[in-house]
Symmetry: C2
Subunit: 422 residues, 2 copies
């Protein structure tokens, strides 16, 4: 018996049948004696349909009105889930982000949660009811305007509510069984991970694993909220994301998994004068255009010319903006030309255990080399190694790393991962 | 220059093109120097689609969650209208019913507005912005739950805001040119009425004219808000609804128009003991089932049997509930049987001028008699005569009355009605 926050994504509430299945599941949790607070996303493609409508009436897809529009999707799904529960004899009450006390800053379309005051949720739970909350949305503290948290924001809503309510667990329901050691579409022998540390999940999410919104993991780590990622289509245990317990490290696998990301592009600034301050000018230009860059590489200067090349990656959709911004400062900075390449992929190896295992980097590059994958850019953190390669060899690269680090399951049927490393 | 409240119905904002047309029209009004507050309904069939979804997850189509669901439709349309205006260079801000200060009682699905506190609207207007408000919805004062005003409630939202803001006029935009002397689908020579008194519009709305929500007219009369019903597809002057001006009565036509209603059914309680208190028992039974009845007729008692028949009409959808309720008390009351008839129509003649013209009733029944229409039930008010007839002769009945009272236009092209009566 405890307090459980459950979050159901769009695929879990895509139609009336799915909503009824989810309602049944919520009822079962309540009947087991738990207090239940549920966060829902918009049904299936609802948000995309609303965006399509918006595109038809305005070229400006941002701001106060756009946020108000997008929040309608969760309003629909939360009411339907509550109605389905009530028709089964349960007592469910739905709450918008604003009613649930999700307070944000004033940044429309990508608001950050500043505080959560779930008084009405707490009252509903105290009265034995199930609370159903619209994900993805909040209300700005200063202007009382409705805001949205950006794509995937419902995960963050769920974790933030779990933290504010002191929930025992935040269950994130999705259409797969949990977090895998690699994308099963690329690696049939990918394993379901039994547990992952917050830091590993952060690196996996930042490296292209789509299963959880990055900010929700940051939030969970900050407030130490245990997350359980699992399927709404089965009763299987999924993946637990939480801090490493005392003494757990020795049992922990060195490597959690291999992530990949094909949503980035590479921009190369060619022939940059190799003198202090020039790189800063380039990245100030990018920052002023409000673009987030990921990896950066600067080649060694060719002594004869006194010039160098600087490459960086960023979301492919931001490529045009970056090129335009840089073209405007070409004369001021004095570089020679710009190259744009959207045929790249990023492949990342993540594992908290690699901190204390110096051989990991060597195995990593040998594995790639054995399948003929060339690393064009390299970036590392304490618990991650990433490379950029050609997009058409991403599957080879992921599979090679997955095998080299002993992540392949015994059979192609996914098994629970609880090994002690290799 | 003044303050104008405009209301656009679902057909006026049915798709992106319509929304852009409406946005343009709103901008023109603003550019003419007026302050503009706009109330919108949900796009086209959105509300029906939401109801369909609700039916798929629950048999209970009422209550708190159902209201929350239905309000999503206006949230979508208001955001899109605001975005369209902003993309044309205007400054529009959208507000939910709650944000607009539409306070209601706690009756979900058919809430009544108890007060309007449009502080945020007033601020937006003071800052030169156009306010776009979601129709049909409010927030309950006591529980802060979202409520809806029932079908057609957006008209009431518009009139209530116009009253609270002290607007010069409440413009109701629809897909026809105004209020007609009869339904043009039944009577091709129906005239567009130039002006109608509140009392006449109340009777017309109560008698089946669908153009305005009855409660919105009651509200307008109470707060003396002039309503201008007009088409969003043309620039034509429509129909003005307001109080009769001093001395206007002499110029006013005797008859405003002929309304009809095919949405009712007739229940006959056969063989009712003709003694005091029995009719009261029957209508107490109906009232306890929360059914509203319209017309009532009791036949003269047959002396030989000491029994009589009582007939009443009610919305056809409530027929089953009425029959069930009455069956339960059949033994207690001692009536013989129940008849249900949904093949009826109600035809009504409405005109403020008939108060002082005693010949109206005679002309009315002569006209029906001439086309062989039998009046099964009769009901009158000071400014209305209604009869129930067979549904299959409703067109004959309406056309005959329209001609007999001189309402036919010169040609089948609708003309502005400004005659002096006859």
């Amino acid at each position: 018996m405890g307090l459980i926050v459950q979050k159901y994504g769009g695929s879990s509430v895509a139609d009336a049948e799915s909503i009824k299945r989810v309602a049944k599941r919520i009822m079962e949790t309540r009947r087991a004696g738990h207090e239940v607070c549920v966060v829902v996303s918009a049904m299936g493609d609802t948000t995309d349909e609303l965006i399509d409508l918006a595109k038809q009436v305005s070229p400006i897809l941002e701001g106060r009105e756009y946020d108000m529009l997008l929040t309608a999707g969760e309003r629909i799904s939360m009411s339907l889930v509550a109605m389905a529960i009530n028709s089964m004899g349960g007592d469910a009450r739905s709450f918008t982000g604003s009613q649930a006390g999700v307070i944000t800053d004033q940044s429309f379309n990508k608001a950050r949660i500043t505080s959560v005051t779930p008084g009405r949720i707490r009252t509903a739970l105290d009265e034995g009811a199930i609370a159903i909350v619209a994900g993805f949305q909040g209300v700005s503290e200063t202007t009382k305007d409705i805001t949205t948290l950006g794509r995937g924001g419902s995960d963050t809503t769920a974790v933030a509510l779990a933290a504010a309510l002191g929930a025992d667990v935040c269950e994130i329901y999705t259409d797969v069984d949990g977090v895998f050691s690699a994308d099963p579409r690329l690696v049939p022998r990918a394993r379901k991970l039994h547990r992952v540390q917050y830091e590993e999940m952060l690196e996996l999410a930042a490296s292209g694993a789509k299963i959880l919104h990055l900010r929700s993991v940051e939030y969970a780590r900050r407030f130490n909220v245990p997350i359980h990622v699992r399927s709404s289509f089965s009763q299987h245990e999924g993946t637990w994301i939480r801090a490493a317990a005392e003494g757990e490290a020795v049992e922990q696998a060195i490597i959690a998994g291999v992530a990949h990301d094909t949503s980035e592009a590479k921009v190369t600034v060619v022939g940059v004068p190799d003198k202090p301050g020039v790189a800063a000018q380039i990245f100030r230009t990018i920052a002023d255009a409000e673009l987030n860059i990921d990896m950066v590489v600067q080649n060694i200067s060719a002594a004869a010319t006194g010039r160098t090349d600087i490459s960086f990656t960023l979301p492919v959709g931001d490529g045009r903006k970056a090129i335009t911004a840089l073209q405007k400062v070409q004369d001021a900075i004095g570089f020679e030309s710009l190259l744009f390449d959207d045929q790249i992929a990023k492949v990342s190896l993540v594992g908290a255990g690699m901190k204390s295992h110096p051989g990991v980097t060597a195995v990593f590059f040998e594995a790639l080399s054995n399948v003929g994958v060339n690393a064009e850019m390299i970036s590392t953190s304490e618990i991650r190694i990433s490379v950029v390669c050609r997009a058409d060899v991403v599957k080879d690269a992921v599979a090679a790393l997955h095998t080299a680090f002993g992540l392949d399951a015994e059979s192609t049927e996914a098994v629970v991962y609880g090994g002690t490393g290799r």
